[in-house]
Subunit: 385 residues, 2 copies
Amino acid sequence: MNNVDTGRTIEQLETPCLLLDQSCMMRNVTRLKRRLEALGVPLRPHLKTSKSVDVAKRIVDSLTGAATVSTLREAEEFGSAGIGDLLYAVGITPNKLDRVAAIRARGTNLSVIVDSLETAEAVAAKALATRDRIPTLIEVDSDGHRAGIRADEVQRLVEVGRALHDGGAELRGILTHAGRSYECRTTAEIEAFAEKERVAAVRSANVLRDAGLPAPIVSIGSTPTALFVKNLQGVTEVRAGTFTFFDLFMSGLGVCTLDDIALSVLTTVVSHQRQTGRIVVDAGWMALSRDRATARQPVDQGYGLVCDVLGRPYKDLLVIETNQEQGILAIRAGSSATLPELPVGSLIRILPNHACATSSQHRQYNVVETDSDQVLDRWPIFRGW
Amino acid sequence: MNNVDTGRTIEQLETPCLLLDQSCMMRNVTRLKRRLEALGVPLRPHLKTSKSVDVAKRIVDSLTGAATVSTLREAEEFGSAGIGDLLYAVGITPNKLDRVAAIRARGTNLSVIVDSLETAEAVAAKALATRDRIPTLIEVDSDGHRAGIRADEVQRLVEVGRALHDGGAELRGILTHAGRSYECRTTAEIEAFAEKERVAAVRSANVLRDAGLPAPIVSIGSTPTALFVKNLQGVTEVRAGTFTFFDLFMSGLGVCTLDDIALSVLTTVVSHQRQTGRIVVDAGWMALSRDRATARQPVDQGYGLVCDVLGRPYKDLLVIETNQEQGILAIRAGSSATLPELPVGSLIRILPNHACATSSQHRQYNVVETDSDQVLDRWPIFRGW
């Protein structure tokens, strides 16, 4: 779908639709890659944020082809596009192993993660049955956030490791994700979290090694910790996804600025009710997503922060409410800002709470450049499992 | 895609995926149709809830082909499938009028709604330019909920009516949607709301008629008010969508029972952490949606209520937290219920907060019957604008 929109402008797009600022995205990606290069550890970018082959080709290292996925459909789509080294970073279930085997049989080096003995045994059984030593990492819970074996459950860790290694699978090492880093309030807290994540993963890998088991990979990461980590000793790769586009939640965390947010929803003013100070637009929760991540932060950004058509934020203008296909804009409660003119038909952009949630509501990115109204390209977004 | 799954069972599906209980859906539809028939007013079902041609063919009256849509893509998809009389019940914007004209030119009788003079003039101009008197309703705000002209803004109503009628469009009447009925706490409140909705719409139609303007259509509706309305005098059609599938929010409102919910998400247990009383499943917010409508109700159902594989609810077992591709189950805080066994690999169903939000996260319905594990069919879901 390259260059189908040459000569088209943002004003010619039908709303609601997604805009992606390509240079902004590439700046975000370069920043994190350089940071991790300085620490001597490669990035394994998470492709769930974009679900786009066009984005993936721009951010994945073409030599290693190393990336992270959150669904087997992502593994299929990105694998078919030639991204050869994919880590499926969501606990595998036994009923997905046939599909894992099929993806691997087509030449994608897909690895999986487990956190229970039952699943480890199922993976090992499938490895034996298919004569393919499915590479498998053990998920460790570094912050009580979600799935994973706790780093102090030494015996369980070794049991699962043995079930994989002795059972015929390829035990590749340890994975963890410090999801609770999203709840930090300061960069010092994020740094401390990053260290906690590292220690949990490295210790767990050493538990396996001390038991005579292999653990070549120690995989950690989340956008906040990847951007603030100081020490990666013992870590072999870092995963992060949201950094590709950034969003209001990451801006509220202090991980990026509003200028770093590459993704926005273009919408049209449907009606302007001056007497009540409300503006109705044609982007509701279907276009913005229901994600209200910033509601948990000191500054609640509603369903999104409103910018002009070129992406410059209006002071304190938020999407305060949504229904399925409409959003209601108003000035933030307590603010002295005034409602901009914005007559019916005006185009505006809305910065999202959570990039992964908003992008997945759409079928394509309309690719733009900072401070320009030219639409350069259209990149399809896929979905489903 | 008919009968592709003949002989398949729920146990053979890959998770997460959507299950739709066909008989349950048909009972819901028959119930509302009979109710409205008794009141002498036809239903114009809202197809945004399903976004499925297969569902639409089963619930739309085949003689009138009257239905409601929330996007022009829905108008295109359902129009192509032969549903001939479609009301696009979201305020039209000037930049969508070319597409409206194209849909109408292909033979779909698509009507639109406006709530401002600017848009009415744009519709009239397009009607003149295309020599097609685009049928248009005026949206009235019956509850301060969203877009629409207030019923007491008599002068504005007449101005907009004249701009349409005198400008060359077909003024078809009045539309309103009592969105705030979702905030009612008792059926008596819903009944009162339904009457308020009716009165606002009928009065507004009479304002137009008194000014010598046509207003043959008076269109009202929402799932709660449609199910509890007692008096439809002066109303010519009722719109409702969620009633097709129902959901936990409607159950919390007292509009349906848990048994009436036709939609659920099938998911697999990924890990069972008995020591912490948490179960991890492979349905996160991508499969369930981020919609947390029941958080505003007396009984908060988390991200969904958990049922066994045949749809029978476990006592007080909720999805208490989600990330993108995983959900965390736990017993409701304060409940004395105990966590069911549910070993790794077990299949369960999750009833959704909001049917429209959950269905739109998926690409197809797996059609099932009450109390059976047979998968009868697969119906595609489309999306986008």
